[in-house]
């Protein structure tokens, strides 16, 4: 059993192009990393994304991602964006997208799942939650001010 788990983990790690991909990095400028569990993967054009991945950019970094439902997300400099939940059924277009902008900036264009059901995409920040009815929007989260 344990061997199977290790094998599965190894496959998951090696297979950035396997079916589990929910999106693809299409634009990568400056420092962009994907945090997947405890590993950090430098992101380049073509890097596949999975549910629970966290996109982390440096001061000179930005990244653009295309998701399987055709939604687009870009992450600006000094940002931390976690993909908490993502699923999309290519046949029914039903799905769920919960992103979490912990810090920094993002821009997004909603895709097929929002067209199908307007409540399916949400972006959280530390102080608020946004439901996306479509289609294009931007979000910024500042560092909390110390009193």
């Amino acid at each position: 059993m344990r061997k199977i788990l290790i094998l599965l983990a190894a496959l998951g790690f090696a297979g950035s192009a396997l079916a589990a991909d929910i999106g693809l990095v299409k634009v990568a400028k400056g420092s962009v990393q994907i945090q997947r569990g405890t590993t950090k993967i430098p992101a380049t054009v073509g890097t596949g994304l999975q549910q629970a991945d966290v996109v982390v950019t440096g001061a000179d970094g930005s990244a653009g991602i295309t998701f399987t439902d055709n939604s687009l997300v870009s992450v600006g400099p000094n940002s931390v964006f976690a993909i908490d939940k993502y699923r999309f059924d290519t046949t029914t277009h039903a799905g769920e997208f919960e992103g979490n902008l912990k810090q920094g900036r993002l821009a997004a264009v909603s895709g097929k799942m929002v067209k199908q059901s307007p409540d399916s995409m949400k972006i959280r920040t530390p102080s608020a939650i946004m439901g996306v009815r479509g289609t294009e929007f931007v979000v910024q989260v500042d560092e909390p001010k110390k009193n």
Partner: protein, 201 residues
């Protein structure tokens, strides 16, 4: 004891507004799409009432002191804050339909001109995902049309590969006469049904 309470009260005033908890500032803005479409977002801050934002550059701002403000930003304000972020958005998904000569995997002269536009768009994309789906009209049997629709999709894929798109980024499939663009009876020659759809992401 009273004196102690006084000290406490002064301490609360000195640390600032005690009416709202300190919070992480956030800003949400609706931006117009390339075609001018204005979207809608619903922002719920600090567990308060949800607010609908559905105007051009309409914004909801959560202040560090917990106050929530609704505002309208200018295009230049949005560009100043989000310029490099918006620039990093990947190209919008596009869809094209090209038409074929009857019974052949050869494009009509008009669609050959249209194909140049598809090529031009694809050149701008660093890593395009392309899905090509071939279709036929209802002239002929199911099997014949399945084969013809596949031939059309594969011909299109070959043309895209020639252009320099890596073959592994192109999916080609045929749907025969199953998905008519213009519904017709069987055995009807209909130019608009002899087509490929090209979906680019």
């Amino acid at each position: 004891m009273v004196r102690y309470l006084w000290v406490l009260a002064v301490a609360v005033i000195a640390t600032g507004c005690a009416c709202a908890p300190a919070t992480t500032p956030a800003l949400f803005v609706v931006v117009p799409a390339a075609d001018g479409h204005i979207g809608r977002i619903v922002v719920t801050a600090n567990g308060g009432e949800p607010r609908l934002i559905d105007t051009k550059y309409g914004a909801e701002r959560v202040r560090a002191d917990g106050r929530i403000e609704t505002a309208t930003l200018s295009e230049s304000e949005v560009k100043a804050t989000f310029g490099s972020t918006l620039e990093a958005l990947p190209g919008r998904p596009m869809s094209y339909t090209l038409y074929f000569l009857e019974g052949k995997d050869e494009l009509t002269p008009e669609s050959r001109v249209e194909l140049d536009k598809v090529f031009a768009e694809l050149k701008h994309r660093p890593l395009p995902d392309v899905a090509v789906i071939g279709h036929t009209d209802t002239v002929g049997g199911l099997e014949y049309n399945d084969k013809l629709s596949r031939a059309r999709a594969e011909r299109m894929r070959d043309m895209l590969v020639e252009l320099g798109i890596p073959p592994e980024r192109i999916q080609a499939a045929g749907r025969g006469k199953r998905e008519l663009l213009v519904p017709t009876e069987d055995n009807i020659s209909e130019p608009r049904n002899r087509r490929v759809e090209i979906n680019v992401r």
